[in-house]
């Protein structure tokens, strides 16, 4: 076992409070900490201002406070090719992609991990709220103890072989504790606002952003019975189960997006949150990834999350290893299963792995409009 001072830990520093505290904690433990800022997106605006510049300045300030070296690495090209292209392709296909899952898979825990190893790192650390613990001699991914912040959902696609090389010091902490530590040590980022939304869109209007890259095709909003309820701005702007922005007035229950017909460019809407058309009892997942050694020949009884910050639901997973897909059967019908999002499996606190939701079914019949 190497001594901490001989153990190099590369920390991915974003200029936010979480990664700042990550670096601080590792420095306190005596590791040889190296901070690296990743630049994945060029967001230079019309005035030549780039938020990456400000974020990098924050990394520099914190790194100087901690007396650790800091550098940056540019993955703009890889991010565009592997994450953004996927993001647009999914929207084009009428689905709702999860770029954070893809970014972790392709950039942070692949390109960036390689970069860290090239710098002689023993470990890569990030500010994710997740834990890697050794259980029965095997590194396992566990939920972060702050159940409200747990980010294992976004980490479901990383290869299990790299788990022994990862450190997530925040996994043992509550977000409020992280803020407190930052304040106590007077870190430059202690009171910085958390970033929200998709990193490359930031505070900008989502519709506007997407319209810069994909042509919007306005069309009709209809009920499943074919009654026209108005116009939509382009199917890609809507997510299954969404209520806001439909502009359908009148009496009765509020209206929700209940489906999309890509071929005919129709947005299906229906009344009430609990609209029956939104419910399914199983789904088909693809791009399966397992974070632990698990017997796939038998059905797996576990819990699952179908979107971030949702409770777990009991499921039975039947894996077809040859086709790299799984049938996920719900104990109770689920509302607004959204193709393109991740389905992530858990056994208690242990994150087993996950996949991408491809199709949803009700009574054995595919819900074709849930795209």
């Amino acid at each position: 076992m190497k001594k901490p001072e001989d153990t190099r830990v590369v920390v991915g520093m974003s200029g936010g409070v979480d990664s700042s505290v990550t670096a601080l904690l590792l420095k306190q433990q005596g590791y040889d900490v190296v901070g690296i800022f990743m630049k994945n997106w060029d967001d230079t605006d019309e005035f030549g201002v780039c938020t990456a510049t400000e974020d990098y300045e924050d990394v520099a300030r914190v790194a100087n406070q901690l007396d650790i070296p800091y550098y940056s690495v540019n993955f703009e090209k890889q991010y565009w090719d592997k994450v953004f292209t996927y993001f647009l392709d999914e929207y084009k296909a009428g689905r709702t992609p999860n770029p954070d899952v893809m970014c972790n898979k392709e950039i942070k825990f692949k390109a960036f991990l390689d970069h860290a190893m090239g710098l002689g790192a023993d470990y890569l650390a990030t500010g994710h709220y997740a834990r890697v613990n050794e259980i029965d001699g095997q590194a396992q991914m566990l939920r972060g103890v702050d159940s409200n912040k747990d980010q294992t959902y976004f980490l479901n696609q990383i290869p299990k072989e790299i788990l022994p090389r990862l450190m997530f010091p925040l996994g043992e902490l509550d977000k409020s504790e992280v803020r407190e530590i930052a304040k106590k040590h007077d870190l430059a980022t202690a009171t910085k606002k958390d970033s929200t939304g998709i990193c490359f869109i930031g505070e900008r209007n989502f519709k506007e952003f997407l319209s810069e890259y994909l042509p919007a095709k306005p069309g009709e909003m209809q009920t499943l019975d074919g009654e026209v309820k108005g116009k939509h701005d382009g199917l890609m702007y809507y997510t299954i189960g969404q209520r806001q922005g439909l502009g359908i007035g009148g009496a009765g229950d509020p209206w929700f997006v209940i489906g999309k017909n890509l071929e005919e460019n129709i947005l299906y809407v229906g009344q009430s949150f609990d609209n029956e058309a939104l419910y399914s009892d199983s789904l088909e997942a693809v791009h399966l990834n397992w974070l632990t050694d698990i017997d796939l020949s038998e059905p797996i009884e576990c819990t699952a999350k179908f979107r971030y910050r949702q409770e777990d639901y009991a499921v039975r997973v039947i894996v077809d290893s040859d086709k790299d897909q799984a049938n996920v059967i719900f104990k109770e019908p689920q509302r607004a299963i959204t193709p393109g999002q991740a389905v992530v499996f858990y056994d208690g606190d242990r994150c087993l792995g996950g996949g991408t939701i491809d199709r949803a079914f009700k009574d054995g019949k595919q819900l074709t409009y849930l795209a």
Partner: protein, 385 residues
């Protein structure tokens, strides 16, 4: 941790004698050189002495030196000053693709103002040809700005020959001589230049001071308005502390120039020998001819520059590459792009090593050993050492 600084082309430390001079200056007179009283006169005398020394160092007249905050300001004054004073004669300007950003960016601003700027290409060795300048010249060309020694490659440009050719043309000729100043005796007469910029912090002087040489016949539109210091070309109370440190650095330069050059040549030879001894695969960007020995821009096939630079710094070796962008990421060098084209691998695997008076044989040996160690880790197959 042992650290080796090999980024003297970015900036140099203060020479101990410069520091001594500045300490004395801090305790000395504080009068404003423009004041009419005895305090002012004391400072005026020091300023005059400094101006004489600066002028002498480039074979120029006392009245031709305009002290500025550095070469960026000197270049801006030359470029905007000439363009705006001579716009009535024409709107065409010639420069090169390999200039420092302190020239390129002002030129881009002039383009927005309606000037037409020709950015001349260079050959693979990184040198612009006199013929290219000749061909680009037009009757309405009012200004030509070409650097003497390139800051990334150390390649020297044929300023004398270009100046000779421009004698018969109305165009005002400017050279950015920042990198050349510490390496060769500059002479504005043999260069045939009208304007020349230098900086103090590249010759072991303090930061924040430099000068623009201006031939008496050249008009400049004022860029900074105020108390009309520096014969109105650069308003603002003189930075006497900087000027005194700078002057000392100039005097030391004149005394030690040959010795320094020989030192750099020795280090450069040793560096190449070291790379060869470790069987490291490399290419010099540029050529050995017309090359200043204190700057070695070297391409290492198979490495990725961000990774390599970071590794070198973690080993205590300070070098650079291209120009640092604001978010800390590295933009491919516009100089190497001009030399080798947009697609060349050299844009992404080249490092600039630059030596100084404090660089020792041991530093070079240390650096080469670390390079070998890092390369063996990053690309084991590419080195045999």
């Amino acid at each position: 941790m042992k650290r080796v600084y090999l980024d003297y082309a970015a900036t140099t430390p203060l020479h101990p004698e410069v520091k001594q001079e500045m300490m004395e200056a801090l305790d000395g007179t504080y009068g404003n050189p423009s004041s009419i009283h005895s305090f002012g006169r004391e400072s005026r005398k020091l300023l005059d002495d400094a101006r004489s020394i600066a002028a002498r160092s480039i074979g120029a007249d006392f009245s031709s030196i305009i002290f500025t905050s550095g070469a960026t300001e000197a270049n801006n004054l030359a470029i905007f000053g000439v363009a705006r004073a001579y716009a009535h004669r024409g709107k065409h300007i010639i420069t090169t693709q390999i200039e420092h950003h302190a020239v390129l960016h002002p030129m881009e601003e002039l383009q927005k103002e309606g000037f037409e700027v020709t950015f001349l290409p260079v050959d693979e060795s990184g040198i612009v040809s006199v013929e290219a300048v000749e061909e680009a010249l037009r009757p309405d060309t009012i200004f030509v700005s070409i650097m003497r020694v390139n800051n990334e490659t150390g390649m020297r440009q044929p300023i004398e020959a270009i100046g000779e050719r421009l004698k018969e043309h109305q165009a005002i000729f400017h050279t950015d001589a920042v990198q050349a100043y510490g390496l060769e005796k500059l002479d504005v007469t043999s260069f045939n230049v009208d304007l020349l910029s230098v900086s103090s912090h590249k010759i072991y002087g303090p930061k924040g001071i430099g000068f623009l040489y201006r031939n008496d016949d050249v008009h400049l539109a004022q860029q900074i308005f105020g108390g009309e210091q520096e014969r109105k070309w650069r308003s603002g109370t003189e930075n006497m502390l900087g000027i005194r440190g700078f002057t000392k650095a100039i005097e030391l330069l004149e005394k030690e120039q040959n010795e320094r050059l020989m030192h750099y040549e020795k280090l450069s030879k040793q560096f190449f020998k070291g790379l060869n001894d470790f069987s490291i695969d490399y290419h010099l960007n540029g050529t050995r001819e017309e090359h200043m020995p204190n700057i070695l821009n070297i391409s290492f096939p198979g490495v990725e520059v961000e990774m390599f630079l970071t590794n070198l710094d973690l080993e205590g070796i300070a070098v650079s590459s291209g120009s640092a962008c604001t978010a800390g990421s590295i933009d491919p060098s516009h100089v190497l792009k001009a030399m080798y084209g947009e697609e060349n691998d050299r844009l992404y695997n080249s490092i600039r090593f630059s030596f100084g008076i404090e660089t020792s044989d041991e530093d070079i040996q240390f650096c080469v050993e670390k390079i070998s160690k890092i390369l063996n880790r990053l690309i084991p197959s590419n080195t045999r050492g």
